[in-house]
């Protein structure tokens, strides 16, 4: 496992984003990629074959937004551009950026 503080995320159209490892680990998917016996874990480079550059850019922005605000209570909402909203939603689902799983009451 590479020990760098940063990892690289690569979109399907070739854009590379260098992100703080700690910030990116809120994503379940990225955590699994980096912890498992995968090539990503050695190189610290994660390729996403389904996410476009602009969308991944927003995701990276979110990682840093979330990381910066992790201990604050009244956080202003991040701005989501309307035109990539649906794509971003798909990416969020893929990366496991859902709200924390809550215990569901059995109905």
């Amino acid at each position: 496992m590479s020990d760098s503080k940063y990892i690289t995320l690569i979109s399907y159209d070739g854009f590379e984003f260098v992100v703080l490892r700690e910030a990116a680990l809120i994503s379940e998917t990225i955590r699994a990629m980096l912890r498992g016996p995968f090539r990503e874990a050695q190189t610290g480079r994660c390729e996403f074959g389904e996410i476009r550059g602009p969308v991944l850019e927003k995701v990276v922005e979110y990682f840093h937004y979330h990381h910066a605000n992790r201990d604050r209570t009244d956080v202003p909402d991040m701005d989501i551009p309307v035109d990539i909203c649906l794509e971003l939603l798909m990416a969020a689902d893929f990366l496991g950026l859902d709200s924390k799983p809550q215990m569901r009451d059995i109905s």
């Binding site: 009244d74 909402d77 309307v82 649906l86 971003l88 939603l89 969020a92 059995i106």
Partner: protein, 626 residues
């Protein structure tokens, strides 16, 4: 007359002013303008004269003959000049006016053509990047030039009164200027306020209020919102822009549906987003804006529908059920809320024809038509039914419960009936189907007594969720007997004994018979299910003493799974008890303490929520704890 003026326009004249030269180069004749103005003025003067004189026609003729010498300005009554087109004037004057109007138009057109060709227009066009219609720009330029300067006189575009133009004169909606009274009218009608100041957060009070509101909504979190909620939020705001939702997973589609319904945005248009032919479930959380046609649409555009949930399904009526019966749709899960237009006969017909695959049937808020007779059909025609929920129902009686007890497949049963039913009927029901029940919810049952608790103790083996609310007869001893160690049911996950308490208005403090959930019952309950409980509601069980609370939540006891507690209106809850609760339940997220007047100043661990503190200071967060 027109010919005469035109020849006059071409007449050879003496030296001209620079302005006339300039205008001539733009094909605008200064003479023409002067003549137009004269004609207008004359027409106005004539009109005026006509009003003043009794024999109007004579005067008119005189005025007409007096063609070349315009009346002096002073003669024109400034306040009552009426527009040339509308007034009742003699024929020739009207002709003159019409001619003038036509000429004015012609000139305007010529001028506009000139402007189009001019440099300024070209430059502006470049700047505007072809975004606007070219003609609009040119017209705007023309109006800009044609607008009278401050200090000049002008006729109001609305009331036609003559007034002095000031820098503050407003533009009329369809060109021209208006006088100040009309301007005020306009300003009042104008829907967009000029200086819309953006409201701030309202300082510390606003922020505090916002936080409290979030806490009550249950959406309070430390840190930012998840990317998914942010996206769904944005999507819900701009739902009118979305054409389809693509192939999002059902879980997310459901979240979007919830968000939309929360904002009451679900209507026939947005419903289409959720009707993908490949879907197996359609969940409508607010069907108030849907008509019967929209329900037809659900059935014919989602042929593989298995799960249908409609809240506020007002227009889900007999015709819709008829249509559903004609389709090859195999519903496994039906959830209807507020469908009062389905008649008893139609319910029976539906269950008889389509009851076979039905696994779950939930019916909320029906007053007359979901009756005992409907329940009577279920045991025979719904052999796979595991979940039955009949809530807010005014028609089902003890007879209906008798029919329910014949549904041997039932795992989950929730009843919220308005008819008072004797406890023995419930005992019979539990004897029949108790052993396999996982969920038992009996809401608002003031007449239920200890015999029902004993029946639960005796027959239920696999309960996970238990709710008995508003009982006025069950006693502490009864609850303690239910939760003794001999009960072979494993620990419950969800418990709700809301408002099981003594109701005695004359002596509210005394409870000699131990009615309701009190000390022993509460201790036995926590002993039995404390380790597994996730959700506990003992709202208004007000005879539980602080000693019992302290014993249950003592330092050596932990309840790992506890997630949410509702202990509002438990009078004996103190600061110490709340502190002990936080200590004993490490995974607790929310505690409700409305009406617990002894809770005054609790330190709430970080990330946990305490709702309803009487001093309204709400949550105090400490950063170093937890």
């Amino acid at each position: 007359m027109s010919r005469q003026t035109r020849t006059a326009g071409r007449r050879i004249m003496g030296p001209q002013s620079a302005l006339t030269d300039f205008l001539a180069s733009h094909n605008i004749s200064a003479n023409q303008i002067r003549l137009d103005a004269e004609a207008r003025r004359r027409a106005a003067a004539q009109d005026n004269q006509q009003r003043q004189a009794d024999g109007g026609a004579q005067q008119l003729l005189n005025g007409d003959a007096d063609f070349d010498t315009p009346p002096p300005e002073s003669e024109v009554d400034e306040s009552v000049v009426v527009s040339t087109g509308r007034s009742t004037r003699g024929r020739s004057a009207a002709q003159a006016a019409a001619e003038a109007e036509r000429r004015k138009k012609e000139n305007e057109k010529k001028a506009i053509d000139k402007i189009k060709a001019s440099k300024k227009s070209q430059k502006r066009k470049r700047n505007l990047d072809d975004s606007e219609d070219e003609d609009d720009i040119v017209r705007a330029l023309f109006n800009e030039r044609a607008k009278p300067l401050p200090g000049q006189m002008e006729n109001c575009a609305i009331c036609n009164k003559r007034f002095t133009v000031t820098p503050y004169s407003r533009n009329a909606p369809d060109g021209g200027l208006v006088c100040s009274p009309c301007g005020k009218e306009l300003a009042r009608d104008d829907p967009t306020p000029k200086n819309k100041t953006k409201r701030g957060s309202g300082g510390p009070v606003g922020a505090h209020r916002q936080k409290q509101s979030k806490i009550l909504d249950g959406t309070y979190h430390v840190g930012g919102k998840s990317l998914m909620s942010l996206c769904i939020q944005t999507l819900a705001k701009n739902i009118d822009l979305a054409e389809h939702l693509g192939d999002l997973p059902p879980k997310i589609v459901d979240k979007i549906a919830r968000k939309l319904s929360k904002h009451r945005l679900l209507n026939p248009t947005t419903l289409s987003l959720f009707l993908q032919p490949s879907n197996q479930e359609v969940l409508v959380y607010d069907g108030a804006k849907l008509s019967a046609d929209d329900f037809y649409r659900i059935f014919h555009s989602v042929p593989e529908l298995k799960k249908l949930k409609v809240r506020n399904a007002i227009h889900f009526k007999d015709e819709v059920v008829d249509y559903l019966l004609t389709r090859h749709i195999v519903l496994e899960d039906l959830y209807l809320h507020g469908s009062n237009l389905i008649s008893e006969g139609k319910w029976i017909e539906y269950l008889q024809k389509k009851g076979q695959p039905l696994r779950s049937l939930r019916v909320y808020w029906t007053d007359k038509h979901f009756t005992d007779a409907v329940l009577a059909v279920i045991p025979a025609s719904c052999p796979n039914l595991t979940r039955l929920k009949v809530c807010h129902n005014q028609a089902v009686t003890g007879e209906g419960l008798g029919h329910i007890s014949k549904i041997t497949t039932l795992r989950h049963l929730s009843l919220d009936l308005r008819e008072a039913i004797h406890p023995d009927v419930y005992v019979k029901l539990l004897t029949a189907i108790g052993p396999q029940l996982e969920t038992l919810c009996l809401t608002r049952v003031p007449e239920l007594d200890n015999t029902v608790l004993d029946a639960i103790h005796l027959h239920c083996r696999s309960l996970k969720k238990l709710r008995i609310t508003d009982s006025e007869l069950m006693t502490d001893a009864g609850f303690a007997r239910l939760f003794t160690s001999t009960w072979s049911n494993p620990g419950l996950i969800f418990l709700d004994f809301q408002k099981c308490r003594q109701l005695e208005s004359t002596q509210p403090r005394e409870n000699p018979d131990g009615i309701g959930l009190c000390d022993e019952g509460f201790k036995a309950l926590m002993e039995h299910s404390g380790k597994t409980l996730q959700n506990l509601n003992i709202h208004a069980c007000r005879h539980i003493s602080s000693k019992a609370f302290e014993e249950v939540f003592s330092a050596d006891k932990t309840y790992e799974n506890m997630h949410k507690m509702e202990i509002s209106f438990c009078e004996e809850v103190t600061d110490f008890v709340v502190g002990s609760i936080f200590r004993s339940c490490p995974n607790l997220r929310e505690v409700n303490v409305f009406g617990c007047m002894k809770v005054k100043d609790v330190r709430v661990p970080r990330g946990k929520i305490l709702v309803g503190v009487p001093n309204a200071r709400g949550m105090v967060t400490e950063c170093d704890e937890d």
